[in-house]
């Protein structure tokens, strides 16, 4: 096994890797943000909505969590155009990532909401707050604080999972890497480089989230 690594072609394609990385970050951040917004409403519906709404949200969460992301991506990307919705690859990728990510985020936010004691809602009700006010002013801020760490992990999972959207050739890092390897015939070097970029991103984000957590809830985290 005498293999000589050739990273010169990879270095020559550094702009493509950089653009791919930026798009991966943008796609992940955007889908995380949209997932979180949907999840707040979804979790509210799942914890205190009418029975039929809880069943719908619960069914959605179970359906997404028990089927592969790749199949969800194919269903949306190939299915929606048949219904007359025109999607380019990047829109399809974002839509599938939000559809998938919000199911997991709903569960995270729901766990946060359920971790807030009943005494809190009862006290707020005794003070004369409406149900929506209780949720918005009392429950949600505390719940979101409690779910910062799992949301951080969820973001990293989402970012790593975004490599899958390269199969519909959305222009993120993995798809950019596919282009580079097809042109240079250096698949191993190209995928190794991309893996290193993902690794640096996930380590950097988990480090950053740990710092944010310590700064935001410093004393509590130290006590635990």
């Amino acid at each position: 096994m005498t293999y000589t690594f050739h990273f010169a072609d990879i270095w020559a394609a550094r702009d493509e890797f950089l653009d791919g990385t930026l798009l991966t970050l943008r796609l992940s951040a955007l889908s995380m943000l949209l997932s979180l917004v949907i999840a707040i409403f979804g979790a509210l519906a799942r914890t205190s909505g009418p029975r039929w709404l809880r069943a719908i949200v619960g069914g959605y969460v179970e359906a997404i969590r028990n089927t592969p992301f790749l199949v969800q991506l194919f269903m949306l990307y190939f299915g929606l155009p048949r219904l007359g919705v025109r999607l380019d690859a990047n829109e399809g990728a974002l839509l599938a990532m939000v559809a998938n990510g919000s199911a997991y985020t709903i569960e995270i936010v729901r766990a946060g909401i359920e971790s807030i004691g009943h005494g809190q809602t009862e006290a707020a009700a005794a003070l004369g707050l409406h149900r929506l006010q209780i949720f918005r002013l009392v429950v949600l801020p505390q719940a979101l604080r409690a779910v910062v760490p799992p949301l951080g992990s969820q973001f990293i999972l989402l970012m790593l999972n975004s490599s899958v959207v390269s199969v519909i050739s959305a222009d993120e890092l993995t798809a950019a890497t596919q282009d580079v390897q097809a042109r240079t015939f250096r698949p191993f070097e190209a995928f190794l480089t991309a893996s290193a970029i993902y690794l640096v991103l996930s380590l950097a984000f988990s480090g950053a989230f740990a710092v944010i957590e310590r700064v935001a809830f410093g004393k509590k985290a130290a006590q635990r």
Partner: protein, 217 residues
């Protein structure tokens, strides 16, 4: 483009066996890697602990799809032609090993230190200590999260389709390419995955609650 017929649906249904077989082999390989990683991670040797940490960080910090590509092209590069089958089994095993290793490390560490110390005081060496004292107790704690991880593993085998392995998702893709009936085809594919994964998800939840009750006194 042709119309969808019963043969297509049977073709998809029959492809389930490759998804199941790949999942079983990947779990077996992952269990071997995972047990090694968990034991290294909890060992007294600093070097072994660090090697395990680096392994876990790398495999949990990079996309599974790229790990599959690297195994596929990397084997080719050193002159081994593994083909999609072996590459997929090897790639999934290496990846599952990192996750199972981390799950099992937690289970091993949750066994009270007094147990190990008592066993040591009775003169047990590492192997009997692990086999007869720690692992049997850790197993009980490890089962619910392991079942939960299996759901992830089964879903992730769909990525094998990208390196050319014909399993459930690839079969669906092939039928869809010929018939262009994405909702029916991928709906069926999704329903099959759901039928396999949902019972496991429920089982994992039940086992976890039961374990929680057993430990809550």
């Amino acid at each position: 483009m042709r119309s969808l017929n019963a043969g297509d649906l049977l073709f998809i249904l029959a492809a389930v066996r490759w998804t199941v077989l790949l999942s079983v082999l990947a779990f077996a390989g992952g269990a071997v890697v995972g047990l090694t990683v968990a034991l290294m991670r909890t060992s007294d040797s600093r070097a072994a602990r660090w090697a395990a940490i680096v392994y876990i960080r790398i495999f949990q910090g990079t996309p599974l799809l790229l790990q599959l590509f690297l195994v596929f092209f990397g084997a080719d590069m050193v002159g081994l032609s593994l083909g999609p089958w072996l590459s997929a089994v090897l790639g999934f095993s290496l990846n599952a090993g990192a996750f199972l290793g981390e799950i099992w490390r937690g289970s091993i560490q949750s066994i009270a230190r007094g147990q190990t110390e008592a066993a040591r005081a009775l003169g047990l060496h590492y192997l009997p200590l692990m086999l007869r004292v720690v692992l049997p107790q850790a197993l009980r704690i490890a089962i619910p999260p392991t079942v939960g991880f299996t759901v992830n593993l089964i879903k992730s085998t769909s990525l094998a389709s990208i390196i050319g392995f014909v399993e459930l998702t690839r079969a669906g893709q092939m039928v869809n390419n010929a018939t262009i009936r994405p909702f029916i085809v991928f709906g069926l594919v999704a329903a099959i995955y759901f039928a396999i994964c949902w019972p496991l998800t429920i089982a994992a939840g039940r086992l976890e609650r039961r374990l929680g009750l057993a430990y809550k006194r």
